[in-house]
């Protein structure tokens, strides 16, 4: 099988853009865990990194909103945000159209998705890359799950999407890494920014580590109304995390860091699956 790395991480723009406003102690421990994830990712020697992000109106809008989309280009530009505001310089990020096209073709056997030959990266992808592949030397395959403009795809469909990606990885000769970004509970870009439901986050990450499908798709805990109430509109991004769970095929996970940093607006999180345990 060719899935060589699977993990999740936060992508909030404050992580880079508001770095100077955070408690340096907790911030630096988080950065260290984030960079360690990058070291581990690169040690897995992936030929391409699939980044499943919940983008924020950089490419997709409610005039034509795909539930699931995958990029298919040789290069991408990012960040779309003001570089000074985000704290990340604008640049070209390498893709690989050939790998993307074959990956998309395989995924389509199990899930109905959109593909896109143009894609501007926002903080959902640029913040993770800043820590994971700081030299921007591994081709990226961007993936989007609509977590912004309801109606949103049911969690079961996100799970099925993850399984389709797993099968696609198995069908390809390349070594593929999959990273999910976003969440967990947060109320981003609102007056509530910085509100964090830490207990909810830790409970979700416990389910994520156990890779317990029933617990992750729990309709009582994670229907959209309940998520909105418990975890804010940012909580809809759990779709990216549980898609990675499905892609990891039963592997057990480890949380390397999960602590609230309110000025970054989230429980800053770094977690990976031990693929050998699948």
């Amino acid at each position: 099988m060719s899935l060589v790395f699977a993990g999740v991480c936060s992508h909030a723009p404050g992580i880079t853009g508001r770095a100077h406003m955070a408690d340096p102690d907790v911030r630096d421990r988080f950065y260290e865990a984030f960079r360690q994830m990058g070291d581990d990712l690169r040690a897995a020697k992936p030929d391409a990194v699939v980044i499943i992000a919940a983008e924020h109106f950089a490419n997709f809008f409610m005039n034509n909103m795909p539930s699931f989309a995958i990029g298919m280009a040789d290069s991408y530009e990012g960040p779309i945000e003001d570089p000074g505001w985000l704290g990340i310089e604008r640049r070209q990020v390498p893709g690989n159209r050939d790998i993307s096209q074959r990956f998309i073709t395989e995924v389509m056997k199990g899930s109905d998705i959109a593909y896109a030959e143009e894609w501007k990266f926002d903080h959902g992808i640029m913040v993770p890359l800043h820590f994971l592949t700081p030299d921007y030397d591994i081709p990226v395959i961007p993936v989007n799950i609509n977590c912004q403009g309801p109606p949103l795809a049911p969690l079961e469909r996100a799970w099925a999407f993850g399984e389709s990606m797993r099968r696609a990885c198995e069908a390809m000769p390349e070594r593929i890494a999959i990273i999910g970004t976003g969440g967990i509970s947060h109320w981003p870009a609102t007056p509530d920014s910085g509100k964090i439901n830490e207990a909810w986050d830790l409970d979700f990450m416990d389910r994520w580590c156990r890779n317990d499908k029933d617990a992750l798709l729990d309709a009582d805990a994670y229907n959209d109304l309940q998520v909105y109430s418990d975890a804010g509109q940012g909580g809809f991004e759990i779709r990216t995390y549980l898609t990675v769970s499905a892609a990891a095929g039963g592997a057990q996970g480890v949380v390397h860091f999960c602590e609230p940093i309110p000025i970054f607006a989230v429980s800053c999180t770094v977690a990976t699956y031990d693929l050998a345990s699948a």
């Binding site: 853009g17 109106f57 005039n63 309801p150 007056p191 000025i263 607006a265």
Partner: protein, 117 residues
Amino acid sequence: MTLYAVQKFLYELNRTPAMQSAYTADRHAVLEPFDLNDEEVAALVEPDIGKLFHLGVNGQILMHFAAFHQIEWQDYLQRMRDGIATYGPVREGVYAMTTGLDDVIAPVHSSSKGASS
């Protein structure tokens, strides 16, 4: 109800540098093709961040519009709070406010106060 049009305008503006230049030169001219009512045009031109939040603009779109206008983060958050205080709760959309008007949700770390963003 034209929240859709307000957000469509902001979406296009946020991702199109040429449109940002044109908007800087003549706000009304760039807004003209969008199906907006007077209240919405006034809020955009001002810009009245609090009114736009009250109208229901998604924060992921609104925060970039605020950054485009060089509005600092803490000021951006305060303007939304002021909008709720002045105009009332968010009218529609998923970006309501759930904390109290005077709650301090994300304090800036003491060692960095005064630093610019």
